[in-house]
Symmetry: C2
Subunit: 486 residues, 2 copies
Amino acid sequence: MTQTASIIGGGVIGGGWAARFLLSGWNVQVFDPDPDAERKIGEVLDNARRSLPGLSDVALPEEGRLSFHDTIANAVDGAMWIQESVPERLDLKLKVYAELQAACAVDAIIGSSTSGFKPSELQDGAVRPGQIVVTHPFNPVYLLPLIELVTTDANDAATIAKAQGVIRDIGMHPLHVKKEIDAHIADRFLEAVWREALWLVKDGIATTEEIDDAIRYGFGIRWAQMGLFETYRVAGGEAGMRHFMAQFGPALKWPWTKLMDVPDFTDELVDLIADQSDAQSGMHSIRDLERIRDNNLVGMMRALKAQDWGAGALLNAHDRAIATLPDLDQADLSQPIRTLHRAVPLDWTDYNGHMTESRYLDAFAQSTDRFMRIIGCDDDYIASGGSYFTAETHIRHVDECHAGARITVRTQMLLGQGKKLHLFHSMYEGERLLATGEHFLLHVSLETRRPSPPSDEIEAAMARIAAAQADLPYPNGAGNAIRKPA
Amino acid sequence: MTQTASIIGGGVIGGGWAARFLLSGWNVQVFDPDPDAERKIGEVLDNARRSLPGLSDVALPEEGRLSFHDTIANAVDGAMWIQESVPERLDLKLKVYAELQAACAVDAIIGSSTSGFKPSELQDGAVRPGQIVVTHPFNPVYLLPLIELVTTDANDAATIAKAQGVIRDIGMHPLHVKKEIDAHIADRFLEAVWREALWLVKDGIATTEEIDDAIRYGFGIRWAQMGLFETYRVAGGEAGMRHFMAQFGPALKWPWTKLMDVPDFTDELVDLIADQSDAQSGMHSIRDLERIRDNNLVGMMRALKAQDWGAGALLNAHDRAIATLPDLDQADLSQPIRTLHRAVPLDWTDYNGHMTESRYLDAFAQSTDRFMRIIGCDDDYIASGGSYFTAETHIRHVDECHAGARITVRTQMLLGQGKKLHLFHSMYEGERLLATGEHFLLHVSLETRRPSPPSDEIEAAMARIAAAQADLPYPNGAGNAIRKPA
């Protein structure tokens, strides 16, 4: 059954939450008194629709329904999750919670996007404090997976488990902070770095651009995949973490930072930083920068996905949870079998947004891989020493498609007998044929890397598909060659 | 002429410098009294050879010659760059500089890898202070491009320009810090975050793994591409940087960090962190973690490269500087034209290190793109509204290759006339044929996206190649089809 989330307070953060829920198949009900709320959330949704679905290697559920409401009571009707993203003023948040709890389901979860307040402060004076938790996201919410889930003793185990389940359901990672603290975890680091950066700019040591370069050409890209401690563990080498700390520990006594000594936030400092930022980034509009950022994040997260590491490992786990491709017993074997159903990711497209040539083969290779799994050539089988190698490929490009397009590949087996496997993939967007991929594969021994017969189980599965597809017509375009010029 | 760099002090950092110079075609002369130095540098080089060359989309120069020397005098003989990476003790460094300057060329540059000392401290008492600069790298030095180049008034403009040139020559980015400060720029941030992290662990708020997750699932991946200020500029939205600072500035007054208040570095704290780190990462050896890290970094940096952004934009600029592929007037047109010469990157390989199926088409598409440029279909031409689209592709997989393999593609034009372009690519590792790619392309109008005739210049270039290649035999495998099963 479709579930409902309520978004209290739109803007960049609330809009990001709305996008996460909508694109995960939830209905979303928004309350925001800002007359521009619908436009603002629409802009975040535009960004999310082009970037999030393609992060997955499987199709996301059909998008939910978005609605806007004039009262909090209407907005929370039927909602099992209520996300509060109003401005960071405690009095305002407490007033909103009183209104929410007067109208919402008693078993709904109220998550706060607060970056600074502790959950005990938010629960203070509430009629049902156990319903309120901190669920602090990171911008862009529709791409970054981190949620700091901060709870207190007022939240029972069932509520915490339910919150974790919903966060995972929308493709995010609940980092459960069990001991509350001002600013949770991540923002304490951001604050520390921000303060030191202000000093460096103010003292004329570095410009905003130089500081950004110092981060993104060095430790930033390191932290994107391993964080702080694992990075240092590697740096410490075989001698281990204790050895690393023995080396690095003493530096703690050195006066390298000025962090609790806060620079005065004068107009001059604001002007200095704003002017440097204009010089650094002013050639791009904010809208351009958002898209550049999202392209970068999608590309890097998909790179981590290929390594099954960090944020990429989270994405793979989510794909497995929502995958809907049929296996041998579920598929209608008398028709070409659905072996791919996904959105075209941003990093598969060229500068003008069309899917680029080599990614057609990437998609067909995923289909071949899926077909291999269907007939029993899965990870365990490959680990036992057998697999299929592609010997020959023939691709016909029929039509174009864009980033975000939902594509489906259906696969007809032209031959599956002994060591030979001959597949014909057809790629569609809706009913529109985009390309065909014809592939001739050989079963090999991974030890000798020479052709060898497959297992009896694979042989039997191929025979079953061959019998079921025997009456399918030989596909148009199969067996074609690129003709020799006259 | 091959240039020579001298590496004083091996280990992880010195070894990383050695790899940068060697793989950029420099000869490298090492001095390190550690009897294990040769083995240690060899291990760093192994990591570098598998990861660095494939970051480029063009082949790096032939590797230089590595030698080990018993004395500083021998190690600096003929060197125009001397990199000092000895332990962080000022007395030791000053002693080393005295020895270096007694033997090295007066116009050589002496760069120090120090993360803490200011260049004025290193120059103090030197016979030629103007020769000494700080060139602070980041681990892994063979992948991360950042060098903090810190200079003083003792360094003249010519020396600084020369240092910048060498750093760029080996594919790195000189971030020139003109006003010296303890710990330069980046390590001040690292120190601030490290201190706060120690508090969070000590106070039981979060484990090392939770802190790493808070970084790599959130701001870490954001910083990898835009750093701090540009990220906040985007977050501030159209209202701009001043508006963002007005919102965020007051938080400076909040007591969120404990950073100058240093936790006591007790055995208990060391044990707590080391034990948590073991629980987090102990299932991987350090060697495994190094390779995982390098795979991740290569994948993410290549993702940024595809967006021509951040560390990826640096890589593209370096590729352009070292590219050696022939153009129309340089190529021997009577033979298949060299259209690709590169190393197979880590992110093109499958779990067991073989180049994966779809990347063959990626390589062939790069060759097609290069061939298009050769005949005049370059960025300007495409911007003017014409291009080629691939209609049909036929790939034969003949043999396998691994990450790091240097592959070359040679391209025969089978037809280039009017709107039709028929290419036959052959991919080799050395003399070994790996695959062939046959491609039929149509010239199109990018406005109508329908076939259209190319420019007269392109028609003329194709005619010139057709005449020159007229006597080449029709290639083996061209015109093949995957046969219909009997």
